[in-house]
């Protein structure tokens, strides 16, 4: 049993309910033990930081302090020092607070002074803040995920959409690449899905701009769905409730604004995992999306995946060879 | 105390990097705290802990050791040897009740005049905060105080500091 402290985040119970439901559905087959942080509070999203600094970080740090207390083996439940946050914005806020409290000790001291007012304290660096997909890919492992697949997603054309706040700024160096990370691609491939190379995978969905500058947000949403559509995707898979909300709930308005007619369902990757693990669609929150995924999911199992043919020797007018793709694990020897 | 404490600090510099950095700070007329008096050595690897102990026991309030950045030693890797000695020395000093912060290791290349100047000033400030070490005079002050204490059966030695000459 792999134990983690769970910071669900506010949207998990509301706009991102499908995410919360589907996480619950996959926890058990993957032998994960998620213990919720008691009485956690909102991380402030991207709003609090713009108003003031110390209260914003104190708000975030209260959660870290609660988690650190809870994981303490003496007076808490112990067993882990890893906090898992499924929401990208929550993940970034928690991870960033932990990092900045170390990078600038004067900030750390002030935040702790504030926490003291509530009888709490947090020593930066105590916890390991990680995102759900990080846990699934690197702790659980693709092998195990693959072994749980009973209903492979063969034929479902998916664009993997990581969003921006997950792979960046990545102070802890958790991802393969902060421009074109492959974790989500790899995971969806493990489910059998037909993963489309999506150059916009870490582009922004508009964030809070849907609320304060809708025209800006619509343009960002349009870029994402039009490119996905262009590439023939059945649906988009996302890791973040904010992304899902923006692309799903504001797709109608975006279409109206541009006079377009896109129909691009967007599901949480955990929903797809649930489907692949043989869960009932209801159980993983299918149907909660405003842009219906029904037609998209109807494709599962219909098409046979195309296998790539080995490269033929170069003819007179054949293309030039491509360099190997960079991986961060590549040693210096590979430089030549 | 109205007058601010002016610490005396001995600095050991590497001929190839930090001594040249000090030269550069001079050429560029950078102003820094005047409390550090420098000794040139060929390499930070020449640093014998004896020198630090001698300086501290002889009236210095702090010791600054400077060498080339790790990996940039003009003698290839001798600054790593200085680093190892320095870390153990600080542990030993801590055991003797001397704040380890009184001995500092700074990496500064020949081009880093600015760094040399700012690190020097910063170190002087750190030592100023720690106050005088006053090692050579410890016994003397105590002796003065002990004269008034008649109840005690403890006394201070009368000839505490007998000069040691090499």
């Amino acid at each position: 049993m792999n134990k983690y402290l769970l910071y669900p985040g506010c949207s998990m119970e509301s706009s991102g309910r499908a995410y919360g439901d589907s996480i619950k559905a996959i926890v058990e087959p993957l032998d994960l033990d998620f213990e919720e942080i008691n009485d956690w509070n909102c991380c402030g999203a991207t709003e609090y930081l713009g108003i003031n600094l110390i209260p914003a970080y104190s708000l975030i740090a209260r959660n870290l302090a609660l988690a650190a207390k809870q994981m303490n083996p003496v007076n808490g439940t112990g067993g882990t020092h890893t906090v898992v946050a499924p929401c990208s914005a929550c993940y970034l806020n928690l991870a960033k607070a932990d990092y900045y409290m170390q990078e600038r000790p004067s900030l750390g001291a002030k935040v702790n002074e504030a926490l003291n007012a509530g009888g709490l304290e947090y020593k930066a660096g105590t916890l390991d803040v990680r995102h759900l997909i990080d846990i699934l890919v690197y702790d659980v492992g693709l092998e195990k995920i693959r072994s749980k697949v009973v209903h492979p997603l063969n034929g479902l054309k998916v664009v993997p959409y990581m969003g921006c706040m997950l792979p960046r700024p990545d102070y802890q160096h958790r991802w393969t690449d902060h421009e074109h990370p492959t974790e989500l691609d790899d995971l969806l491939r493990a489910l059998g899905a037909d993963v489309i190379d999506y150059p916009l995978t870490t582009e922004c969905c508009g964030g809070h701009m849907t609320q304060i500058g809708p025209e800006t947000a619509f343009e960002l949403i349009r870029r994402l769905i039009s490119d996905a559509d262009e590439r023939g995707a059945h649906l988009m898979a996302t890791v973040c409730p904010m992304c899902q909300m923006n692309i799903d709930a504001y797709q109608h308005e975006t279409n109206q604004f541009f006079g377009t007619d896109y129909h691009m369902p967007v599901l949480f990757f955990t929903q797809l995992m649930g489907i692949a693990f043989g869960k009932h669609p209801d159980e993983v929150g299918i149907g909660l999306e405003l842009v219906s995924a029904r037609n998209a999911l109807a494709n599962i199992g219909i098409e046979v995946p195309v296998t790539q043919e080995p490269a033929a020797p170069r003819k007179k007018d054949e293309g030039l060879p491509m360099p190997r793709r960079w991986t961060k694990h590549e040693g210096k020897e590979a430089v030549r | 105390m109205t007058e601010q404490f002016e610490p005396t600090i001995i600095g050991f510099t590497c001929n190839w990097c930090s001594y040249r950095a000090a030269d550069l700070a001079g050429t560029a007329r950078m102003k820094y705290a005047p409390n550090v008096r420098l000794i040139r050595m060929m390499c930070s690897g020449r640093l014998d802990p004896t020198f630090v102990l001698r300086a501290l026991s002889g009236g210095a309030d702090g010791v600054m050791i400077t060498g080339c950045h790790p990996g940039e030693c003009h003698y290839i890797e001798q600054n790593y040897k200085a680093l190892r000695r320095f870390i153990l020395l600080r542990r030993v000093l801590a055991g003797l009740g001397i704040e380890p912060e009184r001995v500092k290791l700074v990496w500064a290349s020949a081009a880093e005049g600015v760094r040399f100047a700012s690190e020097t000033t910063a170190f002087v400030e750190e030592i100023r905060k720690l106050g005088p070490l006053n090692w050579g005079n410890q016994g003397k002050d105590e002796r003065e105080r002990m004269k008034d204490e008649n109840s005690s059966f403890i006394i201070q030695p009368s000839s505490f500091e007998k000069e040691v000459t090499l």
Partner: protein, 328 residues
Amino acid sequence: MKPKFAMYWAASCGGCEIAVLNTHEKILDVDANFEVVFWPVAMDAKYKDVEAMEDGSILLTLFNGGIRNDENEHIARLLRQKSKILVSFGSCACEGCIPGLANLSPVGDIVQTAFNTITTDNPHEIYPQTTYDVPEGELHIPKLFSVLRPLDQVVDVDYYMPGCPPESHQIAAVIDLVIKVVKGEAQLPPKGSTIGAGDSTVCDECPRSRNVKLIKEFKRIQDIAPMDPTLCILEQGIPCNGPATRSGCNARCPQAGTQCIGCYGPAEGVMDYGARLITAFSSVIDATTPEEIEHILDGIPDPTGQVYRFNLAGSLLKASANAFKVKE
């Protein structure tokens, strides 16, 4: 008339006397060639008898023990005055030895520990007083100094004979030498010399072999079983003080399968013994990052005690900052 001989113990354990007696029949040569005028452990004598002697009338005085109280200091000065040759005998007199480790603590704490701990039955919290009136008159006990000093920090010393205690064969050799000098058959070494020991360090006499291998971990001797009997102890990860400790004992401890603890003090010409050990230990560390170095050094739990076990009082810093501060 036979030349006069004296031996005194100040702050010491008495082991040096045992070592003298351990020379067996050689002790008879002392008796045969000298008139023993003052040797509190072996014969009765009064300080006033010594005070009455002519200055320089004692040819040879072996002084062991450090200077911990005013009585020690008084006798040290007295014997200096009365002796032609004053030998700082044994580690305590030369460099403070184990009693010198008391220089890590304020003397008040030491007294407190001695007179008021769980193991001490002192219900009325009675502490010694330097003077005390009894019907018979006033009693005096010596006053403690705040720190212990080796002999040469108090008086001028002619020769040093290190060791805790000095090896008996070395004592015998020195006795032989002095007798020869008395008979006019030999010359005294120059004043200030260390006698009864080598100029090099324990490794010189140690038969173990060393391969210049660096180590990733310091261990304690009980952590290694069994220890390689032919390989350098330091190279096996045990902080052995041999490389920095004066030779002369025939590498007794390493030969017996344990690390040198440094009782013979620094080698010839060395200003600070601890500094030599700091460089010796840091030279075998296999690490380049501060974190890794710190981690390896965690294997030496008490670095100060390790490098100054016998030498603290005789070191450049002489004592800890604490010891200088008397508790009020």
